[in-house]
């Protein structure tokens, strides 16, 4: 017999005794019948909308058949279904034109997050203990209606009611607005980063809330704190424009100057980084305006800004150099460059608007744009028709409104708070005592997909679908001068036992009846969207399709509707007179010598994306730090204080302390320290809990004088070295591993 055959036979003999089937552990899970028949291995791309930041970029989603572990009727099993696998920018979308930022890419992780709430939950333990039990949707809706019906019936509105959410747009905003107002109050909007300061200043000056800077055609951009390549306004659209400005026009490069006390990722792209003193941005803008007028560089035919006929002599660079920290020669030179480089444009955002004088700062920069003659012109400030000034009908979330909600006279008549896509307990200073206030509200329901510091206080959790599983619409406020109404059908079926938030509101509205049921007549959000797009068809797009049904289908296929390219409408700005007001800071400079500058993180934004592990793993653009918080401290300052890279330091304001490792850098003014916003969650999934420190917690409760928005860059702190520490930096080789970096 051949040796090979002998071996085969003896192997078969012993193998037969040890057969174990396929050894496939998946056999322990049953397979549910698929709800859709898909060709395996063949992918399709479906349009969607990014909801990870307010820009509102368009997405395309790669969907392919896969197996998901799900629970159906209480049973664990597998199901074959179309699964979203990868996100990219929608090439046809006017805002982002096929590009996508890292936050957008990470939207995929929301759908598949292991700590997503998969079922309605009812609180079983004390409020905030995190003890919940699963209930059915029928039971959850019944409880919600039972709690809301008496408040709804009370036509005198003497109770507390709040619908707290991030700023909403489109039909979603309409539904929430109508729902909340039927309880006697406009929705309450919570937005830590982009408070009302620049929006209100823009309404005053231009009549529009958001600007769409035409960077692509500009020859000179000066940014006062606006992180326009990272987190401000519409970063992807602006980045595309910036690329064109710098490299897309042969022979023309355009100059970019960034004014900010720290070297942000946007500042790192600038030809010149000018670290002005915090809060003096408006003063610098007025100095530039003064030089332009003094040296007769004002564009011909450009009428002077109202109240500027004296040439703003109070703002001459020699008078302002001490307050701004910018040498007069620099100011004079930049003013000359601005005037000589039409079209030139000025932007303001970030910390410059988050001061007690944020509003005057914003008005000053707006007026500078007016003086430069760029408003409504190519290469200057353009406006999306969607950003037109509307009567402000929302209540901003802040001390005044919290007090109104939790006053004993109102609570005595009952109260409810509905929570959607907002985490005010995390993103408010401890000095505001938000948690203590919300705990008084008798009934709290959250629509969120995750348990976080605020939703953990809820009595009822009614988990929304993830965005990729939802009908979505959006009306972006900036990023394109065209009118844009995005629309997306769900890219995949829901994995879990979740329900679309607007669908829940519509269901409850029908059950509450009366005028509310009449004003929200749709059974589903899909129906509501079809109605609003039929309106668009009738009023603006009747040439685009032969009937409303065809229009509805085409808009879905495209990812939205947008108006044809138009020349910007001539704009007359109101030219309101501008007076500079000096900033105020919390803390005596002798005891608290440093300005604390929190900044929006490219990855965690305002902290709401810290639960996504890709955003923890992605290195910060300037420091390359990951999986933690850090304090940026100037090289010379660090040397004086005996602090080296990675040392654990304590940052203390009058309102609290925190600890984080130091990142030593020349990219920050010596009397400032900066910290990214977003970490320091006490309760936000396995990836973000007990990780890093939250600079918002120690901020002073100072507000902008005009709008009442939190002045989050107005807190002074002191620094002390605790001892050696660890910081995980991607650049230079990792010597630390993320699990080691959990801090208090």
């Amino acid at each position: 017999m051949e040796r090979r055959d002998f071996l085969k036979i003896s192997a078969v003999g012993s193998a037969a005794a040890a057969l174990d089937g396929c050894g496939n552990p998946d056999h322990q899970l049953i397979r549910f019948i698929p709800e859709e028949e898909l060709i395996p291995g063949v992918a399709t791309w479906k349009p969607s909308i990014c909801t990870q930041c307010p820009a509102g970029c368009g997405l395309i989603v790669r969907v392919m058949q896969g197996e998901a572990e799900v629970i159906r009727h209480g049973q664990h099993g597998l199901i074959k279904m179309g699964l979203a696998k990868k996100l990219e920018g929608n090439p046809n979308h006017p805002i982002n034109q096929g590009k996508l930022c890292p936050r957008g890419q990470t939207g995929l992780q929301v759908t598949y997050h292991p700590d997503r709430v998969r079922n309605p939950l009812q609180r079983t333990g004390p409020r905030g203990s995190g003890q919940f039990k699963e209930i059915t949707w029928d039971e959850a809706i019944k409880q919600l209606v039972a709690q809301l019906a008496p408040l709804h019936a009370d036509t005198n509105n003497e109770h507390t009611f709040a619908f707290v959410s991030s700023p909403l747009r489109g039909q979603r905003a309409t539904i929430v607005d109508t729902f909340a107002k039927s309880f006697g109050t406009a929705p309450t909007v919570f937005d830590f980063l982009d408070g009302d300061v620049t929006k209100t200043a823009n309404y005053w000056t231009f009549g529009y809330g958001a600007v769409t800077p035409d960077i692509a055609n500009s020859n000179y951009v000066i940014s006062f704190g606006a992180d326009f390549l990272g987190t401000w306004n519409s970063p992807v659209a602006q980045s595309i424009g910036y690329g064109t400005m710098r490299k897309g026009r042969p022979g023309q490069r355009g100059k970019f100057v960034h004014v900010e006390p720290r070297l942000s990722q946007t500042a790192a792209n600038a030809d010149e980084w000018i670290p002005c003193k915090p809060g003096s941005e408006g003063l610098l803008a007025l100095s530039l305006a003064h030089v332009i007028m003094r040296d007769k560089l004002r564009p011909a035919g450009r009428a002077p800004v109202d109240g500027w006929s004296q040439g703003l002599s109070d703002y001459a660079p020699e008078k302002t150099a001490d307050q701004t920290g910018v040498p007069r020669a620099t100011t004079t030179r930049i003013a000359h460059e601005l005037a000589a480089s039409a079209p030139a444009l000025a932007l303001i955002g970030g910390g410059a608007a988050a001061q007690t004088n944020g509003f005057p700062n914003a008005l000053a920069v707006n007026a500078l744009n007016d003086l430069l003659g760029n408003v409504g012109k190519i290469g200057g400030l353009l406006f999306s028709p969607s950003a037109v000034a509307q009567e402000t009908t929302v209540n901003p979330f802040g001390p005044v409104n919290i007090e109104a909600l939790t006053s004993p006279t109102r609570l005595i008549n009952g109260g409810a708070m509905l929570l959607y896509n907002a985490n005010p307990v995390f993103a408010s200073p401890v000095a505001w005592a938000v948690r203590e206030a919300l705990e008084k509200i008798p009934f709290i329901a959250s629509f969120g997909s995750f348990i976080d510091e605020t939703s953990v206080l809820a009595d009822l959790i009614l988990p929304d679908h993830s965005p990729l599983e939802s009908w979505l619409d959006d009306v972006p406020q900036s990023g394109s001068a065209r009118m844009v109404a995005s629309l997306a059908a769900p890219a995949m079926s829901p994995l879990h036992n979740t329900r679309s938030m607007p669908d829940v509101l519509l269901d409850v509205a029908q059950q509450l009846g009366g005028g509310l049921a009449k004003s929200l007549p749709w059974k589903t959000y899909e129906e509501a969207l079809k109605a609003s797009f039929t309106e668009i068809y009738k009023t603006r797009a009747s040439k685009d399709a032969k009937d409303a049904d065809e229009f509805w289908q085409r808009v879905q296929d495209q990812g939205g509707w947008w108006s044809p390219d138009e020349k910007p409408a001539a704009l007359k700005s109101s030219g309101s007179p501008v007076m500079y007001v000096a900033p105020q800071f919390d803390g005596d400079p002798r005891q608290f010598p440093f300005h604390l500058l929190p900044y929006a993180s490219q990855m965690w934004y305002d902290g709401s994306l810290a639960n996504l592990p890709w955003m923890q793993e992605a290195p910060d653009p300037i420091s390359s730090a990951m999986w933690g918080t850090w304090v940026e401290i100037n090289t010379q300052t660090a040397a004086k204080l005996g602090i080296v890279q990675g040392d654990q330091i304590e940052v203390a304001s009058q309102h609290g302390t925190l600890q984080a490792p130091a990142f030593v850098t020349p990219g920050i003014a010596p009397d400032c320290v900066a910290m990214p916003v977003g970490q320091g969650h006490t309760n936000f999934t396995r990836y973000a809990s007990d990780r890093g420190a939250n600079p918002i917690s120690i901020l002073a409760p100072l507000t902008d004088s005009e709008t009442g928005s939190l002045a989050w860059a107005a807190t002074r702190v002191k620094i002390s070295r605790i001892g050696p520490g660890k910081i995980a930096l991607f650049g230079g080789g990792l010597t630390e591993t993320p699990p080691e970096l959990k801090h208090r």
């Binding site: 071996l7 078969v12 089937g21 322990q28 019948i33 395996p40 939950l121 348990i451 999934t685």
Partner: protein
């Protein structure tokens, strides 16, 4: 089901089962490694005694059920809902059909056992669609299904078998065509 929020913010539940499988081509036993080397596989035991013979005799084509075969890498097996489109009314008295109906009634898909496939260590991917486009008949690799009930490995699908045909038809024999 009780839910708890751990200190880490994780939602845990008493009956959560996970399938945290670490992917590795390594075999967990020596016996397993030997079996792969000698291409010994256990005969799959199918939950339903499906008979290709009967279905083909009744005029069905391969591609009526294995729909993906000319569009993508996987031929695919239809779900039980597809079977029920006919077997709602056809041969409903037969015991095997009754089993099919029972799966459907329970909302469960039929847990077919895999017949064809390669070991992970082969690092090989097979794509049906180009083969169908090239006019390769199903029976060249799957045998004559008109004689089979459940699918069986009648053809020994070694790499040599693939290469031989590729050489004959002058298709690519570059490694990365299939090993990637």
């Amino acid at each position: 089901m009780q839910w708890r929020l751990s200190a880490q913010g994780q939602i845990t539940s008493a009956s959560a089962a996970t399938s945290d499988q670490v992917f590795t081509p390594a075999h967990s036993t020596v016996l397993g490694a030997i079996r792969e080397f000698l291409d010994i596989r256990p005969t799959p035991v199918q939950p339903i005694q499906f008979t290709h013979k009967v279905h083909l005799a009744n005029g069905l084509q391969c591609v009526n059920c294995h729909v993906g075969v000319d569009q993508g890498p996987d031929a695919g097996i239809p779900s039980v809902s597809f079977c029920m489109t006919c077997h709602r009314v056809i041969a409903t008295d037969k015991p095997e059909i009754k089993k099919v109906a029972a799966y459907y009634a329970r909302g469960e898909d039929i847990p077919w056992e895999r017949v064809y496939g390669f070991e992970p260590s082969a690092h090989v991917k097979f794509n049906h669609a180009p083969h169908i486009r090239a006019g390769v008949d199903c029976k060249e690799c799957h045998g004559d299904m008109t004689t089979q009930t459940v699918a069986e490995r009648k053809v020994n699908l070694t790499m040599g078998y693939c290469i031989q045909c590729h050489k004959q038809r002058q298709a690519s024999i570059d490694c990365v065509t299939c090993h990637y």
